[in-house]
Each structure stands twice: as structure tokens, then as C-alpha cells.
Subunit: 153 residues, 2 copies
DNA sequence: TTTGTTATTGAAAATAGATTTCATTTAGCG
DNA sequence: CGCTAAATGAAATCTATTTTCAATAACAAA
């Protein structure tokens, strides 16, 4: 197999963690999956399935787009990647989840797509009041913050 | 033209406001548009374009699905309806914007789709800190809260 | 009212995105 | 090495959305 990335540069720590995660749950580690894992782990930006496919094919030429969809679905189920909605646009991009465990949200650069995560939304108080006022049983919330990263300003 | 809704029950205040809004900007008030406006204004729930089409056809039989898409795009541009993403699912539903002017968010019932709006997310402090920490120039944020409404619990 | 202009419409075709099917391949295990 | 079930890729299919275009109708002006 022709290799386009050396082992060292191609394989981030995050990708290794994800591989262990998959192995532990009995999923097979195929070349196709590795290519997608490493691609997703290698950047903080959010990308569409097509973009991910284009990038991942540098790691594994034969990779099919279908498998990208299937792998993203798997990674999403395992909470290793997240869908990015970004307001109106770009409804179906994906980004790596970098904060291990627990509740967090995304800060997205509208220019370059760079995604930064943060754990502290401090909405508890607001949501408790909202729950009291409306009678809703609040179960979850989703917050996305959009702006421009330092580089893009 | 056969009428399925009496003028009184068919035409909410909100729909009237929206009509004025369109007229003021030089858009023509066609039967097709009225049907979509009134349908969107008549319920707080979020619905897909297909669902909206099915409902709006009770008001105007000949209405085409294309026009529903076009009218929703228009209403979205004018900030009279909003897209609802609801976490993973239902990426392309729409709901009426009921809070005139200004910043607000949605509280969505995951069972019946009922949408309640609220103006006070109290995120300013959080976002200011986030901006200071990350160097991002924060421009906007999008918050969606999901739960069960009093009826559905 | 009638008329003219032009935005808007609906049907059909085209596009795009995502999923299903299925024969073939391969990871992981003895 | 084989075995076997899981996983893959190509093609077919499905679904949602957009584009095209001739026909219609809103609305302003006469
Ligand atoms: Mn979405
Ligand atoms: Mn939060
Ligand atoms: Zn950026
Ligand atoms: Zn409900």
C-alpha cells in the first residue's frame, strides 16, 4: 500500500484514542476507517462529508464516499464527532469532539471553519428559571457560538 | 375560489403583521403567499416544508410545493420564520418567529414540536469571558433548548 | 373598470445529497 | 494460513431541494 502520510505525522494522539475506543467496542479497524478517523482528528475545522472524503483519500486512495458517511454516523453515535449547524448555513458538516466526556459547546470561526470547544456555558440558572416559567421539562440544550478566530480577523 | 377557512378564523394578527411587512417591501400578496403566511402564523410548532405544504393547501388548493420553499426562503430572509435544527434530527423544519425584534431563542417540545420563544439567555457574561480567553471576535450565537411541554409530559 | 407590466406561480426536469443493495474484500481470530 | 462475519465500494435508488420556463395574476396607471 502506498502511504501518503508518514506514520508519525499521520497519526495524532486523538486518532489513537478513537481507535482504542472502536476496538474496545468490537469494531474492526479497517484502512478506510483509519483514514476517516485520522482525517477528522487532524483538524479542528468542520467539514462536509464530501470534503472529508477528499481529504481522507490522501490517506487511503480507494476510500469510497459511502464509507465516509457510514464512518461519520458511527463516530457520531460514539460521540467522537459532532454535527455543526452554524446558524442558517452549512447544516451538515462534522467536527471532531475534543473535550473528553461531559457537556460542552462549540465556538466556530465563520471564515475558516476552525472549531474551538468550551465546557462552561453557565446556562443552568437561565434554564431553571425558564423551566419554572414555562412548565417545560427541559432535557437538553444546544449552543453554537459563531465569530472570527484570531487568525482570520 | 372555494374557501376552506372563514376570513375571521383563518387570519391571525401575526399573519396580518407579516402581510404588512411584505407589502411595505414591495412584495406582492398572492393567494399562494397568503396561504403559507397564515399557515406558519397559525401554529407555534415547527414543521417541514412538506408538512407546511399539506397544511397550507387547505387554504389554497392549487399551492405548489416549490412556492412553499420559495416563500419560506423569503420569510426567513425577513426574519419572520426561523429554521429549527433540534440537535441531531429534523434539520430542516421551520417555525414562526413570534418575538418582535431583537435577540431570542427557542424552547422546543421534542414530542409535539411546540415552540416557545424566550428573550433572556443571559449569555453575555459567558461570551465575554470566552472571547477574552480565545481571542475570537464573537459575532452571534444560536441556542436551542429541547424538552417536553406541559401537555406532553 | 380596463390594460400593461412584471413579479410570481406551478409543472416538470435537473441537481444534489444521502441511503440501500449486493457481490466482493478483509480484519481479526483460532 | 484458512474461516467467518463485518465492512467495503460501485451502482442503483431514494429524497429533498433547486432550476427552468411558459402561463398566470398582482397591482399600478390610465
Ligand atoms: Mn441543521
Ligand atoms: Mn450548555
Ligand atoms: Zn478562522
Ligand atoms: Zn409537547
Amino acid at each position: 500500500m502506498k502511504r501518503f502520510f508518514s506514520k508519525k505525522e499521520g497519526m495524532s494522539t486523538l486518532a489513537k484514542i478513537w481507535e482504542d475506543h472502536l476496538r474496545a467496542r468490537g469494531y474492526r479497524l479497517t484502512k478506510a476507517r483509519r483514514a476517516v478517523l485520522e482525517t477528522m482528528a487532524s483538524e479542528t475545522g468542520h467539514r462536509t462529508p464530501e470534503e472529508i472524503h477528499r481529504q481522507a483519500r490522501w490517506r487511503y486512495r480507494k476510500l469510497g464516499l459511502v464509507t465516509v458517511y457510514r464512518t461519520l454516523a458511527l463516530l457520531e453515535r460514539l460521540n467522537l464527532v459532532q454535527r455543526v449547524h452554524q446558524g442558517k448555513m452549512r447544516c451538515h458538516s462534522f467536527a471532531a469532539v475534543r473535550l473528553e466526556k461531559g457537556h460542552h459547546h462549540q465556538l466556530i470561526c465563520r471564515t475558516c471553519g476552525h472549531v474551538e470547544e468550551f465546557p462552561d456555558c453557565a446556562l443552568d440558572r437561565t434554564l431553571r428559571k425558564l423551566q419554572a416559567r414555562t412548565g417545560f421539562a427541559i432535557e437538553s440544550h444546544h449552543l453554537e457560538v459563531v465569530g472570527q478566530c484570531p487568525k482570520c480577523q
